[in-house]
């Protein structure tokens, strides 16, 4: 297992193939690898299979751009900046996408099972909900649980009468994405990864994935991170590619660095009420710029600086929110 390569964003994203299963670090509109999302769309990836603990602005962009064939998660929306995932909702309503709804714990268990080398993990969550209604096993109904796709479990779930207390419990199958893309505050030159603030479910989803791309706000000396190994999240041998990209999570937020860009996300959400609206938005913000640097220049320093966090708080003390 060699050390990770430090490469350009386009080179890292270029490794991802059409049809691959992807997951992402972060949580809703926080610490999402947005620069990588834009690049996936620019490189016109197709038939991607997303499996996520929860979605957010990032996955709705991929869905709107036609990159996604299968969406599996528990949620999609933009927190207070947009009521739901506009592109996902439209495509679900028009039967233009395959989707599977899960509880938070279900997807977390699926990826944790992948990380642990287990075929399944049990949970009591969501029993009696329509998430477990056999009628709503959409991948099953589409005939995709025939074992031909290694990323799709033979069953959505199995209810198991366990022998120890004789309760019924839900077993969900392991998920092992081909790729996980995660934005973090710091990575060392040998690939040691540090996340500041909440880790969400990053350790689980990264360990579950065959390959990992880490987008680091900053690459720092390895020795600096190793002074406090209890504060690091991952060793370098779990990382394939490292990309250094300041502001790379914009318009989502990065603890200790910058706030989510609420108006930007809200403007995106409003655009997604129609496919045309999204296409125009993508033309302006994704295809209309050559790369992420041009995107940042288009946003401008004033807009970005207004999002900068106050180091004593981890968030901005000046941002107008009311």
């Amino acid at each position: 297992m060699a050390r990770p390569k430090i490469v350009s964003l386009s080179e890292a994203i270029g490794q991802i193939q059409n049809g691959d299963m992807l997951t992402f670090g972060g949580f809703t509109v926080w610490r999402r690898p947005m620069a990588a999302i834009y690049e996936l769309i620019r490189q016109k990836k197709r038939n991607l299979h997303l499996v996520e603990v929860n979605g957010g602005t990032h996955d709705d962009m991929l869905v709107g751009a036609g990159c996604v064939e299968i969406w599996e998660s528990s949620w999609s929306g933009h927190e207070l900046y947009g009521k739901f995932g506009g592109n996902l909702a439209r495509k679900i309503e028009k039967n233009e996408i395959l989707y599977e709804d899960w509880a938070h714990i279900h997807v977390l268990n699926r990826l944790t099972a992948g990380a642990k080398g287990l075929p399944f993990l049990p949970t009591y969550s969501a029993m009696g909900s329509d998430i477990l209604n056999p009628e709503n096993d959409n991948l099953g109904k589409a005939g995709l649980r025939d074992g031909s796709n290694p990323h799709i479990g033979k069953y959505k779930y199995v209810i198991y009468k366990e022998p120890f207390t004789h309760s019924e419990i839900v077993l969900v199958p392991a998920a092992k994405p081909d790729w996980c893309i995660t934005h973090v505050q710091m990575a060392g030159k040998e690939g040691t990864v540090r996340v500041e603030g909440l880790k969400f479910s990053d350790q689980e989803v990264i360990k579950a994935s065959k390959h990992n791309i880490i987008i680091a706000e900053q690459v720092v000396p390895e020795e600096y991170l190793r002074r406090e190994p209890t504060q690091n999240m991952l060793p370098g041998y779990l990382v394939d590619y490292i990309v250094e990209l300041p502001w790379g999570a914009h318009p989502t937020g990065l603890f200790g660095a910058y706030e989510p860009d609420g108006p930007f996300i809200n403007n995106f959400f409003n655009a997604t009420r129609t496919q045309e609206g999204f296409d125009q938005w993508a033309e302006e913000w994704i295809f209309g710029v050559k790369d992420f640097q041009e995107y940042l220049s288009k946003l401008g320093i004033t807009r970005l600086e207004a999002l900068r966090a106050n180091p004593s708080l981890g968030y901005s003390s000046t941002l107008k929110r009311g």
Partner: protein
């Protein structure tokens, strides 16, 4: 500046103030509370400033017992972790939830039904209007000891239904899969049964659930009658157990909401 004592009168508070205060009063001191974005944040923070100073707030993104000095706008907001006891992640807090450590949880939904089932996925079922999906709603409603739903009801009668069009989160009576037989929640959850929906708080009244897990009117908000509440449900609401009017916010509660908890007017516009 001295804050007036006693309870405010109609006209002195907004519907959202009453919602926040009624929700806050559900918390007992020392309880472990799961809260989501929006009104629930006001409610738990208000409770901590009043009758429940040692209650603990957990956000599903992983922060535990934060002491925000600025109102968070999402459960992963950096503000949630300020002076928190612990800030790890989802596995930590969801395993505490599943093992029965969460006393109270605040939830919302697009639809709620007679048995406290919640829908946040599809209005009108899988062929209807797509919403956000569950997120942690089903996990929390499944596994917390008590959940409190905060719902708009005025001119939203369609949100209070006999049976939700999609069960995102299981209430007191639920289908047993795969045979689809409707049974009490406890029969399905067995050793993992910790409780279920305790109250629904709307902009018209406070609703609770009886021995059979059916919703009934507990108190109606000032300006409404029990009949108004019943007429704004799509099912025959039991109003026979109504205790009277919902207690209005105290001037102290209003002052806390406006000047301490949400001075920026993020939720309380």
């Amino acid at each position: 500046m001295e804050v007036k004592k006693g309870n405010s009168k109609i006209g002195e508070f907004k519907p959202i103030d009453l919602l926040a205060c009624a929700a806050a009063r559900e918390v007992r001191d020392g309880e472990i509370v799961f809260a989501g974005t929006g009104l629930p944040m006001l409610a738990i923070m208000l409770a901590q400033h009043t009758q429940a100073p040692t209650s603990v707030c957990i956000y599903e993104s992983g922060s535990i017992d934060g002491r925000p000095i600025d109102l968070p706008t999402s459960v992963a907001d950096a503000r949630c972790s300020y002076q928190a006891a612990v800030a790890h992640g989802l596995t930590d807090v969801f395993e505490q939830l599943q093992s029965g450590k969460v006393d109270l949880a605040y939830l919302g939904g697009a639809e709620v039904d007679l048995y406290g089932n919640i829908n946040t996925t599809f209005m009108g079922g899988p062929t209807g209007k797509r919403l956000t999906g569950s997120g942690g709603n089903t996990d929390i409603h499944s596994l917390a000891k008590r959940s409190v739903l905060i719902m708009p009801q005025i001119n939203q009668k369609r949100r209070f239904v006999e049976r939700v069009s999609y069960i995102t989160s299981p209430g007191w009576r639920i289908p047993h899969w795969p045979d689809q037989e409707w049974v009490p929640k406890q029969e399905v959850y067995g050793p993992a049964f910790h409780g279920g929906p305790a109250a629904v708080i709307s902009d018209m009244g406070v609703y609770r659930f009886d021995e059979n897990g059916k919703m009934y009117l507990d108190t109606f908000h000032p300006g409404f009658t029990p009949e108004d509440c019943r007429d704004n449900c799509c099912f025959e609401l039991n109003i026979s157990r109504v205790k009277g009017e919902t207690i209005t916010p105290t001037y102290e509660e209003l002052d806390l909401l406006r000047n301490t908890i949400d001075p920026e007017g993020i939720i309380i516009k």
